[in-house]
């Protein structure tokens, strides 16, 4: 049960536009679920519904057996859901260390312990030398790493990564892939949106393909690659 995420029949409309039209899937701990699809297919909306920015019109989301549908973002965060964003949303006028402390401010642990943990994570992400800089002084790629570090601080059960590789140079991509692999191997449930098919194929255990708010195919990497619908809608050839 721990860390399993189950989404059923999720619907989200914005005025006349149906962004999610009955989306359902599940993912287990220690697994990476890749999410692919054209722009506008509903991938980011899906993540936004799961983490609580949007309230779904119908359907359900369960994390580790707990129903989190429509709850507020901070409550969902406390259920163990973490995420990164397509365009990094760091706390620009705070230091890197402070950025990392934000998700764990309510932990009943002494300051020194939290600081040590933050430094350890920054070390892992190779940002340690910049730890006193303000987050808005970082490059785009560094900010993405910072987001990943921040996401990992509260040790979430479910992590959602929205296009982590977008606009990132190959060496950093490889580093991020290593980080994602270690998240997976550490027992986290990983949801990964990306257009970088190489990484998707390499990392994912299961893949779902979305189009126009629906899941048009779901299965292992090989199945998805050969799925006719997916090829037409997205992969091309």
């Amino acid at each position: 049960m721990s860390g399993t995420i189950e989404v059923k029949e999720l619907v989200k409309r914005f005025g006349g536009l149906t962004a999610l039209d009955g989306v359902g899937f599940s993912a287990e701990p220690g697994q990476v679920l890749g999410i692919i699809g054209v722009n506008g297919a509903g991938k980011t909306t899906l993540m936004n519904c799961i983490c609580g920015i949007y309230r779904p019109d119908s359907g359900s989301i369960r994390v580790a057996g707990v129903d989190v549908t429509g709850r507020s973002p901070h409550e969902i965060a406390h259920q163990g859901v973490g995420r990164t964003f397509q365009i990094p949303r760091v706390f620009g006028r705070m230091s890197l260390v402070d950025n990392l402390l934000v998700p764990v401010l309510d932990r009943k642990l002494p300051d020194r312990q939290l600081l040590e943990q933050a430094e350890a994570v920054l070390e892992q992400m190779r940002l340690i030398d910049l730890r006193h800089n303000h987050a808005d002084e970082l490059s785009g790629g560094q900010q993405k790493l910072l987001e990943m570090a921040r996401m990992l601080m509260p040790d979430p059960k479910v992590v959602m990564l929205d296009e982590p590789f977008a606009g990132v140079h190959p060496q950093l991509c490889r580093f991020m892939i290593e980080q994602i692999e270690s998240m997976r191997d550490g027992g986290k449930t990983v949801l990964l949106i990306s257009h970088d098919l190489t990484s998707i194929y390499r990392l994912s255990n299961t893949v779902i393909a979305m189009n126009q708010g629906k899941v048009i195919a779901s299965g292992g990497v090989a199945d998805i690659r050969s799925n006719q619908q997916v090829i037409e809608a997205y992969l091309g050839d």
Partner: protein, 325 residues
Amino acid sequence: MTNPTGNSHALDREHADQIFRRLAWLLGISVTSYFLLVPVLGLNIAFHFYMMLWITMASAFNVSSGFSGYMPFGFVAFYGVGAFTTAILVKKAGLSIVLALPASGLAGVLLSLLFAPTLRLSGIYFAIVSLALAGICRLTISNLPEELTGGSFGLQLGSRAEPLQAFYLMMGVMLIALATILWLSRSRLGKALRAVRDDAEAADMMGINVGWVRLKGWMIAAFFPALCGGVEAWYTNIVDTETAFNTLITAKTVIYAVAGGLGTVTGPVVGAIMMSWLDELIWRRFPLINLLILGVATMLLVLFLPRGIVGSLLRARPQWRRFIP
């Protein structure tokens, strides 16, 4: 298990903390001793009383603006409510200032709770609504029965406050304010406030209860101007809506805070001290164009020194940020 880099980071941290604490003590002690010496050296008590008042006002405004990201252009509302609460309690209920003043602080906090729904508004709307709410406060108090608030003539407190007593009381208020704000800047609440300021939605997703955090910051910011209004009322022995809700109070608060630099504890202190001196020197020489100079100074500040003195310094030397309170 030894952790060499971890240990060096820990040492580095402790070193920085040490410097910070020393500077904070230095700030506290120099401010305290300076003001303690004022009566001893026979310096102008009235001038220094107001300097302490502006230090407190600018610092409290910094909590709302620099730390939380709200610019309440109706900040004077808390000041005015505090002034009137003290006046009414001292005159009508015969309370001593020692009891009336905390009650005034509480009145300010209650008012901030009343205004709390405006916290979800974005910058411009918040600023404008704040102005309107201050106007409503002023008009409401003017229109309360004359027996209660003195109508257009105002209230005379009738307590014979010795200037020196008021001076020391103001000093007490100022020191409490500075200590609180120093604590806030390093506390977890302070970090939460700044995260909410930078990106409220992201902070929400990181587990911060945004509404609650904003409210706490807001209440702290409202408490001290209310106390200032109360002490000043006791000092001058009179309150009326024109002076207690004067827009110039907000104006000076904002300008002095910006001149020093929002976002640090020392910024507003430096700004208030510097601008008080400037005001004093100019008032003596050019009493008529005092207001004009204030306006022009504001514009020049915004155009050429938008981060204020301390802010610009930290911009040039970002590595000092961890050390400067």
